[in-house]
Amino acid sequence: MANAFVAAFEILSFGAIIVLIVLGLGIIASMMGIFNFAQGEFVLLGAYITYLAYAKGMPIWAGMVAAPFVVGALGFALEALIIRRFYAAPIVAMLGTYALGLIIRESVRGLIGGFYLTVPEPIGGSIDIGAMHISAWRFTIIVITLLVMAGCYLLLSRTSFGLRMRATLENPSLARASGISTPLMYGATFAFGSALAGLAGALIVPVFSLYADLGLRFLIQGFVAVMVGGVGSFIGPVAGAGVIGTLSAALPWIMAPVVADVLVFVLAIVFIKFRPQGLIAGKGV
Amino acid sequence: MLLEAAGIKKIFGKLTALDGAALSVGENEFHGLIGPNGSGKSTLMKCIAGAEVPTQGTVSFVNTDITAYTPTERARAGMSLKFQITSVLPSLTLYDNILLALQAQSSLFDLVFSRTRGALHDQVMTMLRQFRLADRAFEAAAALSHGQQQWLEIAMALAGKPKLLLLDEPTGGMSLEERRVTGELLQPIKQHCSLVIVEHDLDFIRDICDRLTVLDQGRVLASGTVPEIQANPSVQEIYLRRA
């Protein structure tokens, strides 16, 4: 019983981590139609900023708060300088963002010397329930993920900002003809997606330690999650991430991890083959 | 009968777009399909051409049940569709658009090895000339105005020499004069082809069609020759009713 509880918690917490990482990716992919290969590097930057705060002796949570803002600002700038040119050609965009990711990743690698560096959790230790130990930080991540998810959902579905965003990304010229400033919306959306990645990076760095390939590690998983969930909505990728995350954490409990690893991907592809619109077909938010 | 669609039902979520609609078209018949907006005309056309799978009902074509056929198989059996929303191949030239339509039924071997291009050149240019597009043959289709794209689409639909041509609002965005010309262009194909045409312009329909089917709320309200339909009281009623 206790065992099952621990298992459920661990699986859930990894699912939450994947959801957190995929949130930004999903928003950019679903709403802007750009499969952003640099998304992993935004996660990395978020992690790096948190590390910097720690290394400079500032409180870690300060780094964590700063990360989404800094990465978001960077995303905004990159959108205006680079991404903006790609909207008409999604595949070129993949390659463009790939190059961008490469640049960021290799630069960060240079900055951290290619090492694996530890960043302590702001809330460390474990919550003990009887003989069971539950990581306090992982628990915090679950809570924050839920909050962020709800916040994003409300933002997109309930505010006029969300409406503008969806309208712009759906049909920009018509959006302009409805009086919406599309360049601003594009910038804002991309910045928002980047900021979420930055936040994800900041939150997960204590769990996984900082290294240059931190973001890359989750990228393919993220794309698959987006597809499984269904491109075109906010909820879809989130649901997909939940499924992929929990599956990758759950399968190793019942089979050889090496098999589980490949199996998750194969299952995902087969699923998409027979349900191309994804878990949640692309409508609504 | 060339085409027999019977008992077609199409349900989208909560909405029943077609509720037992039927359509039968004979050889060399021009058949008009009319009805208010949202009455299910386009949906019925799509069910016939295979773009939508009907929830219920059967479609048979040249005495074969084709309900389970894919669009490709239907096209190969001799059906050709022009969508309501124009869908030309935007970055190919007009020439290539037509050429593609012309040789859709060729075998793979022919596609790869035979020199159909030379052989088909005159046909392509003739088609383009008919539709007054010849001088733009080597421009990308995206550079056409909306009306010009409609024409290109009609030309493409005709190019495959279909037994049955399905046109969904081919004259949208055309002036009266242009409609007349389109009507004239369509007349000669009657020798070898039947036509189902969706239109809102009654005068146009009256001029070219032999028979009419009127749809309303997914059901056939009436079907018959043009004078019969014009005399039909329930048809007159929906024409008066506000949408």
Binding site: N3, V6, A7, E10, I11, F14, E106, R109, G113, G114, F115, Y116, L117, T118, P120, G125, S126, H133, I134, S135, V207, F208, S209, Y211, A212, D213, L214, R217, S248, A249, P252, W253, A256, P257, V258, D261 | -
Partner: protein
């Protein structure tokens, strides 16, 4: 620089092929630095055979395809007399053919590895499974317990090492509770940790590598493994890897290598090279055993000895001399090639992490045999 006795002859060319970029660049750069240091030192002492040494460094970029191209540059363009490098086994496999078979050149591989490399003209100067397990595992059983778990990354080194380790464990009355392999980039180990805790494992003999090892140790710690008296063991852990986790999470972790920096306290020669290295290369790239830096030092010095003995630089003569080359001083102590085996005997040390630093807890009495080939 020093006046060369045989300056008229062209310099002797030393090729280094290592990961200057890519995920393990920290190791590759340290190796390249060590090579620069050693070559400088040899040149300062008058070169070899009266000729200066010239260093050619190429990047293997953790990408075998790039590596082969660059190694060809060393062999075919620069015509080096010897190549030292490659860190991972797959890299060694990729570049050994262009160097040894097609390139007809001498190859020294400096990293600790799984053993079984018996290609002629290929010399290994890092520790082998026998060197890392023979004394270490009995120590673990005594200082940890009998129940072992072998969680591993799924590639050749852990597989081969585990075969050896299991033998030693069982020979010493221990027991392997489970041996399990994970994808190289697996980062979630909840299932494994659960298995370790519920099976009451005493020693986790870990061959999971970064990036997975950080989260793995953390999850183990959070599950109370250390608190309940468990012992972590990891034979590639050196000063570089100490920073992956917070000190508390790996308190008591034991490792067995040919060199630890703490040795500088007791060993003047180690203090000397460590100081020389840190003076020349004060940056982040540490002089450490796990990144092949010590193997690189040892390899170059052994090769120097062999060239001196051969008096010539052609491959056959140097290989013949290298076969039984010895150095009296190296990182961690003396080293000597085992004749006919192309592997190296060296001293081994067992160290335990305490508060973010290592403490030496055991050392081999003499040079340990690699037991290869």
């Amino acid at each position: 620089p020093a006046p060369w006795a045989n300056a008229a002859e062209a310099p002797i060319k030393v090729g280094i092929a290592t990961d200057l970029t890519g995920p393990i660049a920290y190791a590759g750069n340290a190796d390249a630095n060590v090579a620069k240091m050693v070559i400088k030192e040899i040149n300062a002492a008058g070169g070899l055979l009266g000729r200066p040494l010239e260093l050619y460094i190429e990047d293997t970029a953790s990408n075998e395809s790039v590596a082969v191209g660059n190694v060809r540059k060393l062999i075919q363009r620069d015509k080096v007399d010897m190549v030292l490098g490659g860190i991972t086994s797959s890299m060694r496999n990729a570049i050994k053919d262009p160097i040894v078979a097609r390139g007809k050149t001498l190859y020294i591989y400096p990293q600790l590895y799984e053993g079984k490399e018996c290609t002629p003209y290929l010399f290994c100067t890092g520790p082998t499974p026998a060197q890392q397990c023979d004394e270490f595992i009995p120590w673990l059983i005594k200082n940890g317990g009998k129940k072992f778990a072998l969680p591993s990354a799924n590639y050749v080194w852990p597989h081969t090492l585990n075969v050896y380790a299991r033998k030693v464990i069982e020979a010493n009355g221990g027991e392997v509770v489970f041996e399990e392999y994970y994808p190289l980039d697996q980062v979630d180990f909840s299932a494994t940790v659960n298995r370790i805790v519920s099976n009451k494992v005493d020693v986790v003999f870990n061959t999971v590598i970064p990036p997975g090892v950080g989260p793995f140790f953390k999850q183990l710690y959070e599950a109370g493994f250390l608190k309940n008296g468990g012992r972590l063991a990891c034979v590639y852990y050196d000063e570089n890897t100490l920073n992956i986790n917070q000190a508390a999470e790996i308190e008591g972790l034991a490792s067995c290598l040919d060199y630890f920096k703490v040795l500088t306290k007791e060993n003047p020669f180690d203090a000397k090279i460590q100081a020389a290295y840190e003076k020349d290369f004060p940056g982040n790239f540490l002089f450490a055993a796990g990144s092949a830096a010590t193997g690189t030092y040892r390899g170059l010095k052994l090769w120097e000895a062999a060239v001196k003995e051969a008096g010539k630089i052609d491959r056959e003569s140097v290989a013949a001399a290298l076969d039984h080359a010895k150095i009296a001083e190296g990182p961690g102590g003396p080293a000597e090639m085992v004749p006919g085996k192309r592997h190296c005997k060296m001293k081994m040390y067992t160290a335990v992490a305490k508060g973010g630093n290592y403490e030496i807890v055991a050392r081999s009495s003499g040079l340990v045999d690699p037991k290869e080939c």
